[in-house]
Symmetry: C2
Subunit: 646 residues, 2 copies
């Protein structure tokens, strides 16, 4: 299958008011902050030990391995983020820092290509003996992704060679010839190998990725066999009753019909499945991807584009089980869902996949990071009452305040690399055709059959539905422009060079404009009036409730703008919502208000827990702000799904 191509990051300059405050954060704050953390230079923040482990593995210092078993990957995601950032914001000093740490990584690598500080420090006799929990292949995948990104950004191939040497070892170790049946407990190396193949052209990497995918879930189950081995050692207490469904190894991937197990593992695997389906023209595999994507998007995804309903094992549970105050909804899982959905869009050209990309990016991914870039949510609840998020209880995993760093710190660098590569999400291209997926102000040039097409998008989306797309190229160039009509846009107008277009050709959720790219101005007016949204009544948790959305943005109530006890509010959804832009709030945002009532609490004494008495209400105005911005002011309650009058 011929995928639609992404546009190289260095062709794209984001000029967007909504996004730039985050993209700037990456280089100004997140990258230096995370570098300090990787080096254990932040007091009062949980120690990472990451660089220290590399120094020990490289023999520069002596000491013991510390930190989580997969802490190497934090450095790799950081390098990937830096690479993306350097593409658009060159920085010689930062590049020098990366070059130095690449030297360190190279020193830590063994002669045979093996590279994992946990096993190098703790004993190589155990390497590859516990693929289920060992995370060596997971870290390897992130190494490969980082290496590819850094090579593309700088042309420097030292890290690429390090990654290739490790990839070669992996391809040897897990080859069919060696009769290995192994595959990773945490998927990621498949993505890395595919990217390595795309850059190097070495098909053995692609084949190895496919092997890992094809083997997964075959009988006899590899993880069950592995546990019987002499060399196997349990690494995590919580896996004493391991079920292969946790890592999507319960069935061959082509036979899987529902999204199961650990959500991040699942979506990382689906990414690789989609890539391989396209590259091998594997209709059965693509079909599995579509089925799994549909199951997520239509039965197992929060309105905020997050996934993973259970705090225990960070996993999918069952269709329509979407509790709001004890969900996991890991930031990384939404990143993975966006990556999977983007691949599906590239393969199919269907806009529904970008509806999910956009939902995940605008809500959960952004909620994962504070507006100062220095604290993070790993778990993204839709309802928070800080009082009951008590350690050692069922809601212990829900943090009402963003944390500075985590023992398992996958999310912060993952957010950084996502924001730094935001440009890659905007366009797709094939032949003379260009797809516009997201509405983010930017200046971009795309090479269309040897000609350079310049695109200049200007918009205040998502606060305003007006989008101006200016196209230009040196000489006349006929092509098609596909502009995504998001699922939430019910009404829109389209002008070309000032003239309204009456008859709009829409296919697969994109309006298609056949035009000459030279000196063309397209103006879109999307109706982004805020609206009430309801969940399918099979979602038991949301019955009788509404959420408020404006375009892709989910809104929420925060205690700081309202009164305590947010679940005591009832909104009158038959009255209009009203909105206003507040330039001084949260870096400038649109606030939404609506009319409703709240239970009168003063009618209830402290010594009355249950009573036959009636509930009394008082009229109240409800104030909502965008979900991604919650928790950036005074801490307190937060609520997405609000009760409505019947």
């Amino acid at each position: 299958m011929d995928k639609l191509a992404l546009i190289p990051l260095n062709n794209i300059a984001i000029t967007d008011a909504f996004w730039n405050k985050y993209v700037e954060l990456v280089k100004d704050s997140i990258i230096p902050y995370q570098w300090d953390i990787l080096n254990d230079k932040h007091e009062g923040v949980r120690m990472s030990h990451c660089i220290n482990n590399f120094k020990i593995a490289a023999g520069r210092i002596s000491g013991e391995f510390n930190g989580v078993i997969f802490v190497d990957s934090d450095l790799m995601k950081w390098i990937e983020a830096v690479a993306f950032s350097l593409t658009t914001h060159p920085d010689k000093e930062l590049e020098k820092t990366v070059d130095d740490v690449i030297d360190l990584i190279g020193e830590a690598q063994l002669d045979d290509g093996y590279l994992n500080t946990y096993y190098i420090i703790n004993g190589l006799e155990k390497r590859f003996s516990n693929l289920r929990d060992g995370h060596e292949l997971y870290c390897a995948g992130h190494l490969m992704e980082a290496a590819v990104a850094y090579y593309k950004a700088t042309g420097k191939d030292k890290l690429l060679h390090i990654a290739q040497r490790f990839a070669d070892l992996i391809c040897d170790e897990f080859s069919e010839e060696k009769n290995s049946k192994g595959y990773p407990g945490h998927q990621e190396v498949e993505i890395g190998l595919i990217k390595l193949y795309e850059v190097t052209g070495q098909t053995r990497y692609l084949k190895q990725a496919k092997l890992f995918i094809d083997r997964r879930g075959e009988e006899p189950n590899y993880f069950a066999e592995e546990m019987k081995g002499q060399r196997f050692k349990q690494l995590f207490d919580e896996f004493s009753d391991y079920d292969p469904i946790y890592s999507q190894a319960h069935l061959p991937v082509r036979k899987q019909t529902t999204a199961e197990g650990h959500a991040v593992r699942a979506v990382y695997m689906y990414c690789a499945m989609a890539d391989i389906a396209a590259m091998y023209d594997d209709a059965e595999l693509l079909n599995a991807c579509e089925r799994l994507w549909n199951n997520i998007a239509y039965q197992r995804m929060y309105i905020t584009g997050s996934i993973g309903s259970s705090g225990i094992l960070e996993r999918f549970t069952t269709d329509y089980d979407l509790p709001n105050n004890c969900n996991y909804s890991e930031t990384c899982a939404s990143i993975g869902l966006a990556l999977f959905s983007r691949r599906m869009a590239q393969i199919t050209g269907e806009s529904k996949y970008y509806d999910v990309v956009e939902r995940a990016l605008y809500n959960t991914v952004l909620a994962g990071i504070a507006m100062d870039g220095k604290s993070f949510f790993y778990v993204n609840p839709l309802e928070v009452w800080p009082d009951n998020c008590i350690p050692r209880t069922s809601k212990e995993h829900v943090k009402p305040v963003r944390q500075k760093w985590f023992g398992v710190a996958c999310c912060p660098p993952n957010i950084a690399r996502t924001l730094a590569s935001l440009g890659e999400y905007i366009y797709m291209n094939k032949g003379n055709n260009i797809w516009v997926n997201l509405f983010i102000s930017n200046k971009t040039h795309i090479d269309v059959n040897g000609q350079r097409v310049n695109i200049d998008v200007q918009t205040n989306f998502p606060y305003d539905g007006y989008i101006r797309i200016a196209l230009d190229c040196e000489k006349a160039l006929a092509g098609k422009l596909y502009i995504r009509i998001p699922d939430y846009v019910k009404k829109y107008k389209l002008h070309i060079d000032g003239k309204i277009l009456d008859d709009i050709n829409v296919e697969k959720g994109y309006c298609i404009l056949e035009l000459d790219f030279a000196n063309k101005v397209i103006e879109l007016e999307y109706d982004l009036q805020p609206c009430f949204v309801r969940a399918n009544p099979n979602v038991r948790e949301d019955i009788g409730k509404v959420a408020v959305m404006k375009g892709p943005l989910v809104y929420c109530m925060e205690e700081v703008d309202n009164e305590p006890n947010l679940p005591a509010y009832f909104v009158n959804s038959s009255l209009p919502l009203y909105e206003y832009y507040d330039a001084n709030l949260l870096g400038g945002t649109t606030v939404i208000k609506c009319d409703g009532k709240k239970v009168k609490q003063d009618k209830w004494n402290e010594d009355t827990l249950y009573s036959e008495k009636n509930i009394e209400y008082e009229d109240k105005t409800l104030t909502l702000i965008p979900y991604p911005y919650w928790g950036n002011r005074k801490h307190g309650e937060m609520l997405v799904w609000i009760k409505e009058y019947m």
Copy 2:
């Protein structure tokens, strides 16, 4: 303080339609069934290993200890249940079985009095080295309770002597003289020691119980110190980050103001605190009991009389945090709450304590056992959707179907001993005064100042509010009869010998009748119309919802009587409830119906998870049955708190 006395069990014969089906179950089904389980004679049921461990400890057979560390206590609770049952239903064969097992227990006991099969089999050098998790004192407490009950029932003192020998060892080992600072990780021995004191008159037992209570939570914390010891060994993985609040050892008990930690431990401790407060006239301790009881009853208790909001660590969380579908609400915790509340009623004579006793007994305790006596709930949710009670998820602890036995099998024998001792909950007595607390048909005789007063209560409570109390004694005897007016009774009539009483003297929630006990008939008519009940709006989970109650009985919807997706029902609470008795349903019960609506689900497609469309409703009748009877027919969803129209 002079407590109101309980009436000995052998004075009381229960003749009640509602309760007798359960009381009969104890002797006919539960006692023999549990005996078989203790002997590992049930196929397909999790092995108990209990009797086997005693045989190994006694040297009758060889082998290894198996089962949970505190499995000895299952036998002790079973003996206690048998003792209560023998009081009212003599059974020579059963008594012989108990005598034989007492011989076995005696053989297992060491010369110095020590008795715990786990440590006897696994190595005595560790005994008393981990009071936090070792459960030796917990098992000892249940031994003492069983011994006292069996002695009272049969006059046989062999088990009593066994218990005393162990109690003497405990008093030596944990005496002030020995400078021991220890106290149990799981409270229970305090109750046992107090009962042993009451029967033997040996004050050292009472003093030791008081010592355990007084020491608890003092600095330096005993459990923290214990962990530093050479002999300490971690017994449970989940306690690697132990917090003393888990076992109410975070503060001295007199300074505790909120119910914290593991719910069963808490209420067992409060029982002992209440006993000691009364016996030592310790106003400060009684004050602590009142404060803790108020905190439970007015901020931390479910409408079903259950406690423990968190599935993790089976613990209290925070005020008004009462989630309905992921709570713990252990059956044993409600039993403990009833025992604590009964003690408070004995001390204070206030009926509010019996409101909680009744709530717990009629709802959670009964829900804990199937109507055939052969399966049990450990966890008692108020809302169940079986589809999402998936292993290895946040709702894993919620079982939508009663289980035959448990690895940790505290609840089944605890229910058995509670049902077998139900008679003890009905009356209290002091001087010439008699208190009637619960409305259960029974024939009882009470010795009032040397005279025998016969009481015959006849009622169909809780299905009918008519209660006939016939009193008689040989010659005229002036006294007061205190009849509890439950908190849910808003209207009532009272007749004495057929004449209505207009001016009723009510104090502390009891109406007080000064009368001659000879040949007197009192007739009560309590209004037990079913009604809608609401929770204090601080209970976020229950806002916008009502529960249906009839007298002390909480009602619930089950899928078998309604349609799937119970949370999609909305009840019209402005319309009357209607009820009817169905003799063929669930052994005969009153069904309640009400009018309402249900969301029309067919308006939503499988591929629509979120949408702006309106919700449509259709009129529906809701059918409810008593909460204790749920899960006795076809399995499916269950719901207590129902949404109401605004």
